[in-house]
Amino acid sequence: MVISTREQDNVVIFDLEGEIRRSDTVAVSLHQHVKEQLEHGKRDLLLNFGKVPFIDSFGVGEILASYISTQNIGGRLKLAGISKRLFLVFQVTQLTRVLDIQDDEEKALASFRKG
């Protein structure tokens, strides 16, 4: 997995590319990237899964850990571009009650602006 970050409209966007598997872990995990941005005072974060074809339970753990870290200091974390399969998993396990999932980056940024 490759993680790159950029900022737009005061939102830090994490562009994730490649499969997210525990067997292919990177030196700095997604959660660590998120914590770094939170420590720099950023509060609005977007995880862009548009180029992620596969995610395993380790990846879900990273998403939830990022969500918890962001929420606990009053920030907002949103997800965009997740696959239909993953969305269904989140739906049947009620994770959609806590995770804010948007169709794409544009809608996600608009939802940040709406507040």
Binding site: R21, R22, S23, T25, S29, Q32, F54, I55, D56, S57, F58, G59, V60, G61, L64, A65, Y67, I68, T70, Q71, N72, I73, G74, K84, R85, L88, V89, F90, V92, T93, Q94, L95, R97, V98
Partner: protein
């Protein structure tokens, strides 16, 4: 102005270059204005008391009542007019009115008509209100708001000196000129003040606004806001009774002065000296004692100082000899004035803290204009009833005063009971703990299993079958999901399960009939795995698989790791688990950890802990250790204390102990806390607070936690004391969240005081806005015992760097 002079002045006022002239004019204006006020005040009282004694006793209550009503109405009118009229014209006309008024009264007093002192009394109340209001309006007009705020104490100092100066001149002149001539002295001072304000306007660089912006005050709205809040009604009642008590004391004082100083000259001189003494004592109290006393007593206790002192003073009249009545009255009145200018005002302001800002703005004006006058009016009615109808003597009026003060005290007790709940209501609503929300409202574990299922379907039908079995057995599996996984009907396909598992019309699970079958299947599988014959037959193949380093066998190793968790803990094949726990592949380790959580073999613990340092399996390892429960604590405790161990492992361990949540786990964390190991200290504090909120039955001893709080306070104090005033922005308060270790201080306090309150206070403090920080600190002020308060609050409060450095050094010394 040369630098030396500027430095001298800057010791008293934070003047900037270029604003010396303006500030000087405003200082001078307030000086002469207050001189005029005090000259007029002394002459007003002295001239009024020159009426016959009976007249004084019956006319005073009437004068109090009418001046309360008149000044209330005038204040309401003045506040509205000043916003809507052209300001310069308004101020010019009011100057003319008051100057002409002084001249008129000088001549009117010459007629010796009895009504003139009464009229002058009313005139003075309006003069005082209008002049002071106009001064602050002018300051707001010619100064920028931040500069006005910074210089307010400089101007007030000018007013104080002017009051003392004016009263001093009255004292010296009183023996030589009749009191009515002092009115002309007041006029001279007033004209000097007006001349200086012209200079201020010219010296100002800000264009003066012609009218005030913003809507006029709506007093009815203020009354409505009062009606809606029981706390505000209590506050209003408190102000009424405190002013009623003050007016009663003023009544007794005036009668005593009248009796003690029948001659005008002596009376005027005495009143001048009294005014000087009150101003000086108030200044000393305010500058050196009041805030310290409020800090050490706390707001709620400090509120009782004034009524108790006045009650004791009023009661003392029954034991002082008749000859000392005047001295008694002077002491009581002096105490009332001094305490009112210092303690009472400061503490009353703090009582407004729980009130939301927008409501406070509405209500305060209504209270200042109308409610406060109700106190004077109430006192005047009581004076008529007791003083005139029931013919109470001056000393007997103390009964009435004491009764009012008793009501005052009861109100304070009630306000005290409601103060903390009112503060709590205003704290920013507590954010729910996100981890708890995920745990209680979602099925995150099921989501992970579902994804493992999907992944395993691609890799191994055996692994897939194991995972499916596990998933179907999971307690929290919703009936819908269970149905989805085990039904191959068209309805299921239509529901999108195809998407979930790329099913393409296949059945996704076994063709089970009803839910009961998977339990039966599970039993069969376990029984087979437990058979001695199975254990014997499969020993060599499993050992070969477990020992292999060939990547091609990774899937079989995952299958083996999974299967081991279905065997009894004492099954010989489970001896392969340690090898799988040491595997390089995170996928193999993941399943091995899952099985380790089921088998819970003690010898596996040292192999599990290091995986806390591997991001890929950290969560799984933490869950496995938590599954061991209290049995894992001794091993975890040793790892935590070992400073040579992997820091990532050590930093993950406190959270595992918090999840285990037993008293042994809590003790292990506390023991580690006391070691003050910087590598893990933050993680330990976070874990302790988490444990406290998850397991409220676990209590922490104050003697264990308090030293750690004070250690953090000492660190913060050392940082503050070492901070260079030259490097920082002198005079600028440091923001609260820049205090090192503030979060840990709050979390540790949450171990020995209510964690919900402390957690909410932390959230407010972290928010960083002045109001949120004030609420947070006010809550701590009301929860913490005095010694902790004295150490913690100065560290957390916003204050200029120099002030913080001074408090820090004081705290460090006291903690030695």
């Amino acid at each position: 102005m040369n630098d030396r002079t500027r430095r001298l002045i800057n010791r008293f006022a934070p003047l900037r270059r270029g604003e010396e002239r303006l500030a000087g004019y405003l200082f001078g204006h307030f000086f002469f204005l207050m001189a005029a006020v005090y000259v007029s005040k002394v002459s007003k009282t002295s001239l009024f008391l020159g009426l016959g004694l009976g007249l004084t006793k019956s006319s005073l209550p009437l004068v109090y009542f009418i001046s309360a009503v008149l000044s209330g109405l005038f204040a309401a009118w003045n506040t509205k007019r000043i916003r809507s009229l052209d300001r310069r014209a308004y101020i010019a006309w009011s100057r003319l009115f008051f100057a002409a008024g002084m001249i008129a009264f000088f001549f009117l007093f010459g007629t010796r008509a009895a009504v003139v002192p009464v009229l002058y009394w009313f005139w003075f109340e309006i003069f005082l209100l209008a002049s002071v209001t106009q001064f602050w309006v002018i300051v707001g007009t010619v100064c920028e708001p931040r500069r006005a705020k910074a210089l307010v104490s400089f101007f007030v100092g000018g007013g104080l000196l002017g009051g003392i100066g004016g009263a001093a001149i009255v004292f010296f002149l009183s023996r030589h000129v009749p009191a009515r001539y002092l009115i002309l002295l007041g006029l001279v001072f007033y004209l000097a003040a007006m001349a200086l304000i012209r200079g201020a306007v010219h010296a100002s660089s800000a264009p003066p606004a012609e009218t005030e912006t913003g809507p006029p005050p709506d007093y009815l709205d203020g009354f409505r806001a009062l009606g809606r809040s029981s706390y505000l009604r209590l506050l209003a009642a408190l102000i009424v009774v405190s002013l009623a008590a003050s007016t009663m004391i003023d009544f007794q004082f005036n009668l005593a002065v009248k009796a003690g100083f029948p001659e005008e000259a002596g009376r005027t001189a005495f009143l001048a000296v009294f005014a000087i003494a009150v101003l000086v004592v108030s200044w000393i109290l305010n500058s050196f004692l009041a805030h310290r006393a409020i800090r050490s007593l706390g707001v709620r206790a400090a509120l009782f100082v004034t009524p108790i002192v006045l009650a004791l003073g009023s009661a003392a009249v029954f034991i002082v000899p008749a000859a000392a009545l005047t001295a008694w009255a002077v002491l009581v009145k002096g105490s009332d004035k001094s305490l009112n200018y210092t303690f009472s005002q400061a503490t009353r302001e703090l009582l407004y803290l729980p009130v939301a800002q927008d409501i406070k703005a509405k209500v305060k004006m209504t209270i200042d204009v109308f409610v406060s006058k109700a106190g004077e009016a109430l006192a005047s009615v009581l004076q008529v009833v007791f003083g005139i109808f029931l013919a109470f003597k001056a000393d007997q009026m103390s009964f009435v005063t004491i009764a009012i003060i008793v009501a005052w005290v009861f109100l304070l007790i009630e306000i005290g009971r409601r103060y903390l709940p009112a503060i709590r209501e205003n704290l920013v609503p507590s954010r729910p703990d996100a981890e708890r929300v995920v745990r209680e409202q979602t099925q995150a574990d099921t989501a992970k299993r579902l994804l493992d299922l999907m992944e395993s379907r691609e890799r191994s039908s055996v692994l897939y079958a194991y995972n499916l079995l596990d998933l179907l057995k999971a307690e929290k599996l919703t009936p819908e999901l269970r149905q989805l996984l085990s039904d191959k009907s068209a309805a299921v396909r239509a529901s999108g399960i195809d998407t979930l598992l790329d099913a393409d019309n296949e059945a996704l699970g076994p063709d089970w009939d009803e839910a009961a079958d998977q339990d039966g299947l599970d039993v069969i599988v376990r029984e087979v795995l437990a058979l001695d014959a199975y254990q014997d037959v499969m020993r060599r193949p499993f050992e070969e698989v477990a020992a292999s380093n060939a990547p091609a066998l990774e899937v079989e190793q995952m299958e083996l790791a999974k299967a081991l968790g279905l065997m009894p803990a004492d099954a010989p094949l489970t001896e392969n688990l340690p090898r799988l726990l040491k595997h390089d592949s995170p996928s193999v380790v993941h399943y091995a950890l899952e099985s380790a959580a089921r088998l819970r073999k003690r010898e596996a613990l040292p192999l599990i802990v290091p995986h806390l340092g591997r991001a890929a399996v950290r969560d799984r390892a933490a869950e496995t250790l938590a599954a061991y429960g209290d049995r894992a604590v001794p091993v975890l405790k040793d790892w935590l204390a070992d400073f040579r161990a992997d820091p990532r492992v050590r930093q993950a361990l406190p959270d595992v102990l918090a999840v285990i949540g037993t008293s042994r786990a809590a003790e292990a964390l506390v023991r580690q806390l006391r070691r003050r190991d910087p590598e893990v200290q933050n993680a330990v504090v976070d874990a302790l607070f988490k444990l406290r909120t998850r397991c409220p039955e676990i209590r922490f001893r104050e003697r264990d936690i308090r030293p750690e709080v004070l250690a953090l306070v000492q660190d913060a104090c050392r940082a503050a004391a070492a901070a260079s005033p030259a490097g920082g922005k002198s005079g600028e308060p440091g923001t609260g969240t820049s205090v090192p270790g503030f979060r840990q201080i709050f979390l540790l306090l949450g171990l020995i005081y209510p964690p919900e309150d402390i957690g909410q206070a932390l959230q407010n403090y972290s928010e960083g806005t002045k109001r949120a920080v004030d609420y947070a600190l006010e809550l701590l002020e009301n929860i913490l015992p005095r010694d902790l308060k004295d150490a913690v609050l100065p560290v957390l409060e916003d204050a200029p760097a120099e002030e913080k450095a001074r408090s820090a050094r004081r705290i460090l010394k006291s903690l030695e």
